[in-house]
């Protein structure tokens, strides 16, 4: 039974790692299959760990970006993923929101896509409104047709889910590392809840 990573999987993820040099990628290309299968050499393990960091960053970016709506056609967000995972994120988001235009601003620029369009990148200096307007123009019809309840609903729902007798902040920070709380502006509700608690919780504790 094969247990190690496939070389193709490594070669897909490693170039997206912020600290991975082309020299190391070349080295990985020549790691013997047996070492890769068992992760039995330091290089194989290092390559595997770096690729996993990229996959994890992509996973967390998918989880923690919060969209805002523009003209009922475009979903946009800002975030700073650690690695160059924007294309990975968009390949999933397109399946999730096939009728929307999508825009993500990261430290590497604006990334956007619309139905049937290719992933486009704009320089970070560009104005957000211009990018959104450009993408919205490519979306033929309104993508929201239900009664939208707005962003505040998340605040209500999220605060209802906490069970005070199980409070466990170390576990919270393990699952939501500070890097993401600080670099993903959409996580404001979670930050406020952890830092301040709620009035109800305070009264309950008193």
């Amino acid at each position: 039974m094969r247990q190690g990573p496939r070389r193709g999987w490594l070669m897909f993820h490693l170039p997206r790692h912020e600290r991975c040099s082309s020299l190391f990628i070349e080295k990985v290309r020549h790691i013997p299959d047996s070492d890769l299968d068992a992760l039995s050499s330091p290089e194989a393990r290092k390559a595997y760990n770096m690729a996993r960091e990229v996959a994890g960053d992509s996973h967390r970016t998918l989880a923690y970006i919060r969209f805002q709506l523009f003209r009922e056609r475009v979903l946009w967000s800002e975030a700073k993923p650690k690695h160059r995972v924007e294309d990975m994120v968009f390949s999933y988001l397109r399946k999730r929101y096939p009728h929307f235009g999508l825009v993500l601003k990261t430290q590497r620029g604006y990334f956007g896509v619309w139905p049937d369009g290719e992933l486009i990148r704009w320089p970070v200096e560009k104005d957000m409104n211009d990018v959104l307007a450009e993408v919205a123009a490519k979306v033929p019809e309104k993508a929201v047709w239900w009664d939208d309840q707005g962003e505040g609903l998340w605040d209500t729902f999220y605060n209802s889910q906490f069970i005070s007798s199980r409070k466990n902040l170390p576990l919270f920070y393990k699952a939501m590392p500070k890097y993401y709380l600080e670099n993903f502006p959409g996580l404001g509700v979670e930050c406020r809840r952890v830092e301040n608690g709620t009035l109800d919780a305070y009264i309950e504790e008193v």
Binding site: Q3, G4, S34, D37, A38, L39, S40, S41, P42, A44, R45, H59, L62, A63, Y64, I65, R66, F67, L69, L75, S77, Y92, K95, R96, Y97, P98, H99, V144, W146, D147, D148, Q149, G150, E151, G152, L153, W154, T156, F157, Y158, S160, Q161, F162, I163, S164, S165, R166, K167, N168, L169, P170, L171, F172, A175, M176, G186, E190, R193, V194, G197
Partner: protein
């Protein structure tokens, strides 16, 4: 009453139900008519509460009106009874899903008078979400005790996962905390129907169940036995454990809560049964005379009983490797693969690079004829 207030009340009432953060089917169900939503096989946790629990699904009750008398539950005694209308529920969910706050829907409910009628209301809401809102993402639906066979077929056709809570490990224990739920008929028979529906292609992520740990005074052996039977007879995907937590204004509010470590140790034991495939009789070895788990990693407790001498990873078979703390199925397979290709485990670093947790494994290993000098666990 506004929709936000309904969401607040009904999601607060639903927060004690447990669902997985990574619960999607692999491969996911393909819903050709869907226009929004996708199911990602590994699942995504979109947020975590300060108690460290994942918030990946819009977890709500359809109604908190309930004619049951479960003594641990807040619904029967709650003064504010609320129910969603199907459209309200769908609008609220879509507003969260669109902004990437949640990965899917988890819908449960109190049983307002007639279980079949309440189940019909729930199904109507999810059918609306699937057919009119054309949502193709993940839905986990609770089956109510008393739902009929036709409703279970409808539920497995539209949901990715379904579940019905056993709550307690036996009929007598359940009746001590919920006198009007009949274990054999309301729970086990429905689970059998679910199993048959899944066999015919429904609910691709299978069925699960949940225990309220400690509410009925059961011991851990009873829970492990029931869980094992659920895996064998109901083809359960997995079981969940919720430590009993006394809630104000319920008949059990003055009872002691179950320590969270007990829930944690049950999850670890479940892992040994479900993932490591340890025989049930072997797992019994970690129970004390009262059938309770100690507050210790059950795999470590088992290893202390199993090994009377350190293990050489260059000689040990898969079964023995798997019983060493810090070595799981993946790292055990990597060790065997490495050996098959003529490699040897010369030092702890090699093991570490294969994914083993070196510090846990070290006291049980003999590398190059030498055993780590740290104090033996079983001495």
């Amino acid at each position: 009453m506004g929709l936000h207030e309904k969401v607040r009340i009904l999601s607060d009432a639903g927060k004690y139900d447990i669902c997985a953060s990574t619960s999607c089917a692999n491969p996911p169900a393909v819903r050709p008519n869907a226009s929004i939503g996708n199911v990602m096989p590994p699942g995504v946790c979109h947020s975590f509460t300060p108690d460290g629990r994942c918030v990946s699904l819009f977890k709500v009750l359809y109604t908190n009106a309930c004619s049951m008398d479960c003594t641990y539950c807040t619904n029967p005694t709650c003064h504010r009874k609320e129910s969603f209308q199907p459209k309200e529920l769908c609008d609220a969910f879509m507003s969260l899903y669109m902004r990437n706050y949640v990965e899917g829907m988890f819908l449960s409910s109190g049983i307002a008078r007639d279980p079949e009628r309440t189940m019909d209301d729930i199904l109507e809401a999810i059918e609306l979400l699937r057919n009119k809102y054309r949502f193709g993402g993940y839905v986990h639906l609770k089956i109510l005790p008393g739902a009929n066979l036709d409703q279970i077929k409808r539920a497995t056709a539209i949901a990715d996962r379904v579940s019905i809570n056993v709550e307690a490990p036996s009929s007598s224990l359940l009746s001590s905390i919920a006198s009007n739920k009949e274990y054999g008929n309301d729970i086990l028979l429905r689970q059998r129907w679910i199993k048959e529906s899944i066999k015919k292609g429904g609910a691709p992520a299978g069925q699960t169940t949940q225990f309220v740990v400690g509410a009925a005074g059961e011991n851990d052996r009873e829970i492990i036995d029931r869980l094992w039977m659920e895996y064998r007879d109901m083809k359960l995907k997995r079981g969940y454990f919720s430590a009993f937590n006394p809630i104000k204004e319920t008949p059990m509010e003055k009872e002691d809560g179950t320590p969270l470590w007990r829930e944690h140790r049950l999850y670890q034991t479940d892992w040994l049964l479900r993932v490591y495939k340890f025989p049930r009789r072997e797992v019994y070895g970690v129970l004390d005379d009262d059938g309770m788990l100690e507050n210790m990693d059950p795999k470590l407790a088992l290893a202390r009983r199993t090994f009377d001498r350190p293990v050489d990873p260059n000689e040990a078979d898969y079964r023995s490797l798997l019983r060493i703390p810090g070595i799981g199925p993946t790292s055990a397979s990597r060790i065997l693969e490495h050996r098959k290709r003529g490699g040897r485990i010369e030092n702890i670093r090699t093991l570490k690079s294969m994914g083993a947790v070196a510090n846990r494994a070290r006291p049980f290993l003999m590398l190059n004829g030498w055993q780590a000098s740290m104090e033996r666990w079983w001495s």
